[in-house]
């Protein structure tokens, strides 16, 4: 199979590669080939490591039926797991002590087998050392905790005993000498009164007290005082709140039971002499011991932090090395062992342009272990669907992601991302057209782009920020295009700029102007300067007109239909590129041609009529070309479809040019003819070719290609030469083809109408945006500007400006920006891409250390 036919030569020379690279930008996904590699077992590790560094290969799992734990290199994976566990342990210890782990500057390569053993030993040693250190620390801290508690017990009990003394001074003094091994002073004075002192966690006190009361039927006298110092649990490092208590009781029996309760409630008991001077002496002893212990503790802490600091320098390197190692063994688990056990066989997808890199990586890998037998890389033919791989850079990545979010392109299909780079920001700009808002967006985008290295280095976990940052170039372009359309609309925060000087002049005298709230300017008189127009965009005088909206609506509505139809025609044309590339040129005739004719004759004709109307009618002309006679293009279009007539006004013509009616009828007729053409052309063609093929096929039925290993799934990918081979797969029954085609046809015909209407969102959003910003200006900022009080005025304008600025940012830039973004996205996904884009591919996921490390960082 491998050696049979290689109908595409693999480029080997540098010049050939360069040529291909030039031909192969973002236009379509890269050519991928299936390769088989034969690697010596001893060279496998280093070879895979090299391949991981290049990141140009996607391996296929050749052992899908084997369980995870029955694979070949599972024990090595386990060793990595164990090392990772140790690393995690050390990391946790570092975190506990607040030692910062610095990212390592250069990424180390995967360790070679000898280094692995070293690494394992180092990790083992470090783990043991740290474990021992923390065990020591825990012991010391427990000791320390006990002493502190004892100190508190001794101090706090002072008060209790003083109260008690008042009750039974005599009795206490007689018996304070008795003290037993477990450490409570038993005071057997009047009525044999004894006591136990200790500490208990604060939240357990109420239950503890109740239980003592219950077991003694109220014969225990409990005194307690809260410790004002917070303690630290030596094992977990959590803070502890404890309470000192002394329980007075009578009798030996009760003492045992109280002690049982104390252990049950995790209370720690401490010896506490009842005599004042003895207690003070003990306190002194405790204090000196505490001091000593403190010193020891400090020293151990110092030692520990020294050790941890040393480790923290090495740890990131180790972590990366282990991760790489684990990835290598996981990949090797995907390989097959050859029957003679002399080499490992792997299958992988490789972009043709990277074949030489892979070759080099393999030879480097075998050279690293000094293997005498080189590794082989065989290109094999396959009919399986290949993965889609678009090489992107930081600029194109964002746009490619927009497309991939809809569906990954089928292998080598035309990639709309290339055109999206311009059309996306442009359509966005039409909706978001405002120079001021556009500038804010541009500034934000520019800040992100100019500081991308610094901002990118700070790996943020904030999802929203990452989305913005990932689309920084999109934002930048959207900002620029919005500024452009804003300039054309002559809109800056809803105000206009009179840069070139308005071409209208006022011929009214002052008194007329002062006495009339509304005055009309007539374009047919000399209010409009003869032969001059405002050089770019909208004349600023419209800002003052009460009919501004009416004018803009008509203007923007037409604009959006024009752009929409052009966009769609472009989309339909893209399908020829696909048909041509996949060698199904006959579909250009059967699918593309009726589609484009339908679209052009009906909708592009409408667009043409818009332009024609603009040209034909002008204010200074006489009927039938005066403005009053201009027919509505929409009504005209509807009439054309319904073969209806509407009576023209007096002195006007219904049609703009002679024979228009006949032309329209022909157009509609041809358009309708396209529908059965679309509906039946492709299925009938398939039916015919099948019949022919069957005849040919039956001729030499004996030699059906036995060499086919895998059944081809997508007939489009086969060259016509390979047609006879395609019979390995089951054909779609004809009835289904007919039904699919019917659905496609209905969809297309309906969509031309609905999609054209859908582009009206360009107008609607643009209108909403302009109106909203005007409302914001009039209702908020204008209020501040209008007040002329010398004191209140500045205050008002300050406050109002702040409010206006906030609303502008939050509503007009953020919210409106998002909504315009979404609508643009929809226009691309649905209206544009549905004309040619399949999007049934799957992404090429190379085995790359860089990707693996980035992924685990998150």
């Amino acid at each position: 199979m491998a050696n049979k036919t290689q109908y595409r030569q693999i480029p080997t020379s540098e010049s050939q590669i360069k040529k291909r690279a030039k031909m192969n930008p973002l236009f379509r996904s890269e050519e991928i080939t299936l390769c088989q590699m034969f690697i010596q077992p001893e060279a496998a590790y280093t070879s895979v490591s090299e391949l991981g560094e290049t990141g140009a290969v996607q391996f296929r799992d050749l052992n899908t039926e084997v369980n995870a734990f029955q694979r070949k290199f599972v024990s090595e994976v386990r060793r990595c797991d164990e090392m990772q566990r140790k690393i995690r342990y050390v990391e946790a210890e570092l975190k506990k002590d607040g030692v910062k782990i610095r990212d390592c500057q250069e990424v180390p390569r995967a360790p070679n087998p000898r280094e692995i053993i070293d690494l394992e030993a180092k990790l083992e040693k470090t783990e043991n050392e740290i474990m021992e250190l923390s065990q020591n620390a825990i012991n010391l801290k427990t000791n320390y905790l006990e002493l502190i508690e004892l100190r508190h017990v001794l101090k706090k009990t002072q008060g209790f005993f003083y109260d008690e003394n008042v009750i039974s001074t005599e009795a206490m003094r007689n018996n304070m000498t008795q003290e037993d091994a477990t450490g409570q002073g038993a005071n057997q004075g009047r009525g044999r009164l004894g006591f136990i002192a200790g500490t208990i966690q604060r939240e357990r006190v109420p239950a503890f007290e109740r239980m003592l009361w219950r077991i003694s039927r109220g014969n225990v006298f409990l005194r307690q005082a809260e410790m004002d110092e917070t303690l630290e649990d030596p094992e977990t490092g959590n803070t502890l709140y404890k309470t000192v208590f002394v329980a007075f009781f009578q009798g030996e029996e009760l003492k045992n039971r109280i002690k049982k309760v104390c252990t049950g409630f995790h209370a720690s008991l401490y010896p506490c002499p009842s005599a004042n001077d003895e207690r003070e002496e003990m306190l002194k002893g405790v204090l000196t011991r505490l001091e000593d212990l403190n010193m020891v503790l400090n020293q151990t802490q110092d030692h520990r932090s020294r050790v941890l600091h040393n480790v923290s320098k090495e740890l990131p390197r180790w972590s990366i090395m282990v991760k790489k190692m684990k990835a290598i063994y996981h990949t090797m688990n995907l390989f097959n062992m050859d029957v003679t056990k002399k080499c490992l066989i792997g299958e992988c997808w490789v972009p043709v342009l990277d074949l030489h890199k892979v070759q080099k990586a393999l030879s480097d890998g075998s050279a690293a272990v000094g293997s005498t037998i080189p590794s082989f890389l065989n290109v094999i033919e396959t009919n399986e669907t290949k993965p889609t791989f678009n090489r992107t850079n930081k600029f194109t990545r964002g746009f490619q992601n927009l497309i991939d979010a809809y569906g990954v392109a089928s292998y080598q299909e035309v990639n709309p991302a290339l055109y999206t780079i311009i059309t996306f920001p442009f359509l966005f700009g039409i909706m978001f057209g405002d120079l001021g808002h556009g500038f804010i967006m541009f500034a934000f985008g520019f800040w992100m782009v100019s500081g991308e290295r610094k901002l990118g280095a700070k790996k943020s976990n904030n999802e929203i920020w990452n989305i913005f940052f990932g689309g920084r170039y999109i934002i930048l372009l959207m900002g620029i295009f919005s500024m452009y359309t804003g300039f054309t609309y002559n809109d800056v925060f809803s105000k206009s700029m009179n840069i070139f000087g308005s071409k209208w002049r006022i011929n009214y005298n002052e008194s007329t102007i002062m006495s009339n709230p509304l005055l009309q300017l007539d374009p047919s008189s000399n209010d409009l300067m003869e032969g001059e127009i405002y050089p770019w965009g909208l004349d600023p005088i419209w800002q003052l007109g009460t009919n501004k909206i009416i004018f803009l609506n008509s203007y923007k509505m037409k604009l959006s239909i024009i752009f929409g139809v052009v966009h769609m025609i472009f989309g339909v044309c893209m399908s020829t590129v696909n048909h041509n590339f996949f060698r199904r040129r006959v579909y250009i005739l059967l699918e593309f041609l009726p589609q484009i004719i339908f679209l052009v004759l009906l909708f592009a004709y409408m667009v043409f009529m818009m332009f024609f109307k603009w040209v034909l009618y002008n204010p200074k002309a006489i009927p039938p070309h005066s403005p009053g006679c201009a027919p509505s293009v929409l009504i005209m279009f509807i009439n054309m479809m319904l073969f209806k007539k509407s009576p023209p006004l007096h002195g006007c013509n219904e049609y703009m040019f002679t024979d228009q009616e006949l032309l329209q009828k022909i157009f509609v007729f041809i358009g309708l003819l396209c529908i059965p053409w679309m509906l039946l052309g492709k299925p009938l063609y398939i039916m015919c070719t099948r019949k022919n093929n069957n005849k040919v096929h039956n001729g030499h039925n004996g030699d059906v290609n036995q060499a086919m290993e895998m059944t081809p799934e997508t007939p489009e990918e086969l060259a016509p030469a390979a047609h006879s081979e395609s019979h390995g797969h089951e054909e779609e029954p004809l009835s289904e083809i007919f039904i699919h085609q019917a659905i496609h046809t209905i969809e297309y015909v309906l969509s031309t109408v609905s999609h054209t209407a859908s582009y009206l969102r360009l107008w609607a959003l643009s209108l909403a945006h302009a109106q909203l910003s005007e409302v914001l200006w009039n209702m908020v900022l204008a209020l501040g500007l209008k007040s002329d009080d010398p004191i209140k005025g500045p205050i008002m304008i300050t406050i109002m400006f702040a409010a206006w600025a906030c609303f502008t940012l939050a509503i007009l830039v953020m919210m409106e920006g998002l909504s315009a973004f979404l609508h643009t996205l929809r226009l691309h996904w649905v209206e544009f891409m549905s004309k040619f884009y399949e999007g049934l591919g799957y992404v090429f996921q190379p085995f790359s250390f860089k990707l693996i490390l980035d992924e685990t960082d998150e």
Binding site: F69, E82, R85, R214, I215, K260, T263, G264, F265, H266
Partner: protein, 347 residues
């Protein structure tokens, strides 16, 4: 009812159903039984919902570690749901924990009776059933003391009133206490569920009735050859099952296994369990049969929506799964593969 239910418990039910989807399937078990070592087991469990739960355990693994970790995971999930629950779900979830409290109390009393130090017993207690006064339980020498000193403050107090006596605690007594407590608990839980009404009552009463009958049958079978009198025995039967009252009365008169079987004949679902069981090698024991039936009932609980039964069933199914994994792990660890297939598959 659904929209009212979802106000308080919708999130938790969703969560619980999500957890339920993580329960191992038959195919997982088929893979698990192929494991050669516990490391293999760990590797396979990593591919399931358990994820990295054993990742921080140093090798070599012990079965007890797996057991602890399995239980820990379950307890965390359950407590998360308990912490987010409001009335009446919170009481319902509390009721579930009472059975573990009973087990813990009995474990501790038996332990202290055999002179075991309390610190050795505490780790064996189920964390869901721990309560504040638990560790001081060994102050009590008689059931009355146990009640007065320890249990009176716990939610178990109302269940205990039937057991108060001044007799010393001995093994027989403890066994009676356990069963009386359990009986009172089951009946209270049954009434509580019935009081909740709706689908919860439908589902839970079915499960609890089976639990009650199972206890009655097991108590009867285990009492043969002991000094427990028939009258005392009858007092231990929970009276909320399907066998109440006729079946229980008949059970009370039974003298040997055959007679118990004869009583069960009257109840179609139990008759089937008895028929399918046997003590010969290769047969399933009656206990296993009961477990299987319990699993079936608990799986049915997920067929309906908007009720509390899913929480109970999830816990029970997950417990069964822990038992299964531990069983397989034991078989793998001891290289005793003959009976490795005796786990009870859930889905």
């Amino acid at each position: 009812m659904g929209f009212m239910f979802n106000i308080d418990a919708g999130y938790l039910e969703g969560l619980c159903r999500g957890f339920k989807c993580g329960i191992l399937k038959q195919s997982d078990y088929l893979n698990l039984v192929q494991c050669e070592t516990l490391e293999d087991l760990k590797l396979h469990l990593q591919g399931t919902d358990y994820g990295q739960f054993l990742a921080n355990e140093p090798s070599p693994l012990a079965v007890s570690v797996i057991d602890d970790k399995l239980r820990e995971k379950l307890v965390i999930e359950f407590q998360h749901m308990r912490n987010h629950a409001v009335e009446p779900l919170s009481t319902f979830l509390d009721f579930i924990t009472y059975s573990y409290m009973i087990d813990n109390i009995i474990l501790l009393i038996t332990g202290t009776l055999h002179q075991r130090p309390i610190s050795e017993l505490i780790p064996k207690c189920h964390p869901l059933g721990s309560f504040e006064q638990m560790e001081a339980i060994h102050v009590a020498a008689t059931p009355a003391e146990l009640y007065n000193a320890v249990l009176v403050d716990t939610p178990l107090a109302p269940f205990f009133v039937d057991c108060i006596s001044e007799q010393d605690l001995d093994e027989m007594n403890i066994e009676i206490i356990r069963n009386t407590l359990y009986k009172a608990y089951l009946e209270a839980f049954y009434d509580f569920c019935k009081g909740l009404g709706g689908t919860t009552a439908d589902v839970m009463c079915e499960i609890l009735a089976f639990e009650a009958d199972r206890r009655a049958i097991i108590i009867t079978i285990n009492s043969f050859g002991t000094e427990l009198s028939k009258d005392d025995r009858q007092k231990l039967y929970p009276r909320c099952g399907k066998m109440f009252p006729d079946g229980l009365a008949a059970l009370a008169r039974a003298d040997d296994y055959e007679q118990v079987k004869a009583v069960a004949e009257y109840y179609a679902e139990y008759a089937a369990l008895f028929d399918g069981s046997g003590n010969n090698p290769g047969d399933k024991t009656l206990e296993d049969k009961f477990f299987e039936h319990e699993v079936k009932l608990n799986v049915y609980a997920f067929m309906q929506q908007f009720h509390f039964g899913v929480f109970y069933s999830y816990l029970k199914l997950k417990e069964q799964e822990c038992r299964n994994i531990v069983w397989i792990a034991e078989c793998v660890a001891q290289k005793h593969r003959a009976k490795i297939d005796n786990y009870i598959p859930i889905f």
